[in-house]
Symmetry: C2
DNA sequence: ATCCTTATTTAAACTAATTCCAAATAATTT
DNA sequence: AAATTATTTGGAATTAGTTTAAATAAGGAT
């Protein structure tokens, strides 16, 4: 069984030493390069195409989010394991979207780091619990409490039908109301929510969970 | 340090035996009950409030998705670890949305099962790789290749503006075109996509990644 | 108990958006 | 060269939607 080759990309010397020390305790791992900045890293990648690249992208001037794309184009077979102290959800979503295999925070312990490297090398994914919770939050955020939506039950009913693509006439006939009633409701809805168009209303409804997200 | 108490809820006798055998190999775990159907399970929960409930919800007549809600209301402190052979993404999303802590498939190996139990007992979450990939797919699906969308570049441009809430007149002035041009484009778009309303178009655009999802 | 606010309902007159039909030009494919 | 697709436009007819105004009912506040 051949060894898992690893490159360490971190601007901080001490982190590199720590990772090296930790990883060298496992026979199946082999560190083929260390890099303190992007230029160094790309050189390592060209020469070794390691199985796993351990990266902290959050180091201005040395590495940043765009480094991920560069790693992928320089060494497409290398899997990326991020270890970052980043706390910005948007950044993290962006990085996950970018297709890294694994994501740890700097507070993870030895066991998690080793498990993450193993999973990454096996082409699997690994996210530490904090990141996993962020991901779940994005995917499975509880629909907001409808009581937080400043719309009356009737109005919400009408929003659903509007989002369903129905025009005032159809909604009126479905609810046995005058079309004028629907127009009034709709105007009130738009005023309350400060929206200007049906499109915005549809997006609002999806966002607030009034209707099921198409995605 | 007190033991992690576990209840096993699975209609299949052999699975229960297998789990029991596996779990009993670890001193820190203690099985406080086994259940082959929902009624038995609720009894176990009332008597023991175990830290972890291992459940296969996909067993008609014995357990189903609604069992999860019942577990949570009967024993709110128990964390739920699902082990299921379910392959329906919609089901799985539904279950994860319902707030289970962990989700394994029946093809997971011993190490994963034990890691999952440990994580669940620590109030953490654990998803095996297959489930994790489903979850990532839900929120981080790559925008579909625009070449798969049967719209011309101009049409896509107009879809974006429509979704942005702009009406024909505004779009026309933005693109220096006649409003009639916009109407024609929009009609063609609707015909091509077999859509009947602006709302459907907005949802289509979100779904296909033509515009960024609001969620 | 009365007042006030919000929710719900409706209409007439008006304005604006949209569709239908028809067609021209340019670019691409066959 | 012919056919298809993409892009553009206009006039007439239709339809949807806005504005303004108002009535009824329900619930909360004083």
């Amino acid at each position: 069984m051949s060894k898992t080759t690893i490159a360490i990309a971190d601007a901080q010397y001490l982190i590199r030493v720590g990772l090296r020390h930790l990883i060298e305790g496992f026979e199946q791992f082999e560190i083929v390069g260390e890099a303190g900045c992007e230029k160094e890293l790309l050189e390592v990648l060209e020469n070794h195409s390691p199985n796993v690249v351990i990266l902290d992208y959050q180091q201005p001037k040395n590495f940043d989010i765009s480094s991920i794309e560069k790693i992928k184009s320089t060494s497409p077979k290398s899997k990326i394991l991020v270890i970052s102290g980043d706390n910005e959800k948007e950044n993290i979503y962006n990085v996950v979207q970018n297709g890294v295999s694994s994501f740890l925070t700097k507070s993870c312990d030895e066991e998690e780091i080793i498990n993450a490297i193993k999973a990454t090398a096996k082409q699997e994914k690994f996210f530490c619990n904090k990141i996993l919770n962020f991901i779940l939050e994005k995917s499975f955020a509880k629909p907001e409490d409808c009581s937080l939506i400043p719309l009356s039950p009737r109005e919400i009913e009408i929003v659903r039908l509007v989002v369903d693509g129905k025009i005032a006439k159809e909604i009126a006939s479905e609810l046995n109301l005058s079309t004028h009633t629907i127009y009034t409701h709709r105007k009130n809805i738009m005023n309350k929510l400060e929206l200007k168009s049906t499109s915005e209303l549809v997006l609002y409804a999806v966002e607030k969970g009034i209707v099921k997200s198409p995605v």
